[in-house]
């Protein structure tokens, strides 16, 4: 039995997580609607996501969906329960490279990290990949020349 997650999203009523996946044996694309139970606007999104990820009936389908992706979907569901618009909810995940993330609380930070996770997961090399190298090394010392603009306006004694 093997499933490959393709896309996922939410459905507001009843609150559910929607998963589009490929059934590897039959090579068919299917949709699975997973109702999110016992989840209210006061619930802990991270615990709920973990519960779902380990759920005996769903975990095989959700293997390719990261914990943070599931957290994000739960946050969107919860925002909706709290009366926030979808736009506002999605905007909170946006990454502004100039924003000081030290200033965010746990949940706001989790949103940003969830966003960063997309690229992280995309570029990630897993240890079961056939070409995985544990101590991968690359020498950049020969290619480094340009001075970095981040070093200008050197106000702080770099």
């Amino acid at each position: 039995m093997s499933f490959e997650a393709k896309r996922c999203g939410v459905q507001f009523s009843p609150p559910s997580i929607v998963l589009i996946y490929e059934h590897k044996e039959t090579k068919t694309i299917r949709k699975r609607i997973i109702p999110v139970r016992n989840f209210s606007k006061y619930s802990d999104y991270s615990m709920a996501a973990e519960r779902l990820k380990n759920h005996p009936r769903h975990r095989d389908y959700l293997e390719g969906v990261s914990q943070s992706q599931l957290e994000k979907l739960h946050i969107i569901l919860r925002d909706h329960m709290q009366g926030f618009s979808l736009e506002r909810s999605l905007a909170s995940f946006n990454l502004d490279p100039d924003e000081d993330l030290n200033k965010l609380d746990d949940e706001e930070l989790a949103r940003k990290k969830g966003q960063m996770d997309e690229l992280f997961e995309k570029n990630r090399r897993h240890k079961d990949d056939p070409d995985f190298v544990y101590d991968l090394e690359m020498d950049f010392s020969k290619t480094t020349q340009e001075k970095c603009s981040w070093d200008e306006e050197s106000d702080d004694g770099f």
């Binding site: 030290n102 200033k103 992280f120 544990y134 090394e137 690359m138 702080d156 770099f158």
Partner: protein, 223 residues
């Protein structure tokens, strides 16, 4: 928040005086990838110990340096970076420091100066390096030279916790430097600390913060 320096009850920091024990700390802004780097280096060995009361995560690792087995404790922050400052106990007895920034966010690079300044207040001499993480996001950054730390001679690494580039190399070199430093500490503070312990100041734990402040203030005259 944590108690006085060196007196986190779950953690006896005296063990770091033993030859075969080193403590390595990670510094840097929120979300630069400190925890992901730890995870990538430790892989299956990855068993973090959360000390949430202290906003601290500890990772234990066993390394071989030369023909010696060394127990390494990595200290990672779990939210304390939010205060843009770490509790003194975080720096206490550290043998090396890994400073991380995110190549996609300039502000995290600029903030290195603050982290470095704080590190040197507590640990004037410990080996330290600068780590540019997330190079997988844009390999072109590796053509640029980032000059922070050049003057101080800090080693610099381009790494990616996602694809693993140079992560293991960086950690191994830092473990080696931590061990070397421990054998030849240059820190005045370290020696004084050791001496204080030898004198067995009973009340030290209760008062250690005040002690440290006092030492810090004096050290410039004495070196």
């Amino acid at each position: 928040m944590a108690g006085d320096a060196g007196s986190i009850p779950e953690l006896d920091q005296k063990k770091y005086d033993a030859d075969e024990q080193v403590k390595i700390i990670c510094l840097g802004d929120s979300a630069v990838g400190k925890s992901k780097l730890m995870e990538r280096f430790l892989m299956d060995e990855y068993r973090p110990q959360q000390l949430s009361t202290y906003a601290l995560t500890l990772y234990k690792h066993t390394a071989t340096v030369g023909n010696k087995t060394v127990a390494v404790d990595f200290w990672d922050t779990a939210g304390q970076e939010r205060f843009q400052s770490m509790h003194p106990s975080y720096y206490h007895k550290a043998h090396a420091c890994i400073m991380v920034f995110d190549v996609q966010r300039k502000i995290t690079y600029k903030n290195l100066a603050n982290w470095y300044k704080e590190l040197r207040e507590y640990r004037p001499e410990v080996p330290c390096c600068v780590v540019a993480n997330k190079i997988d996001a844009d390999l072109k950054v590796t053509q640029r030279s980032f000059n922070f730390g050049k003057k101080q001679g800090l080693p610099f690494y381009f790494v990616s916790a996602a694809d693993g580039t140079n992560v293991v190399k960086m950690f191994r070199e830092m473990i080696k430097r931590a061990v070397d430093y421990k054998q030849n500490p240059g820190d005045f503070m370290d020696e004084v600390m050791q001496e204080l312990e030898n004198f067995d100041l009973e009340k030290k734990e209760d008062n250690s913060e005040a002690d440290e402040d006092g030492l810090k203030a004096e050290s410039p005259d004495l070196v």
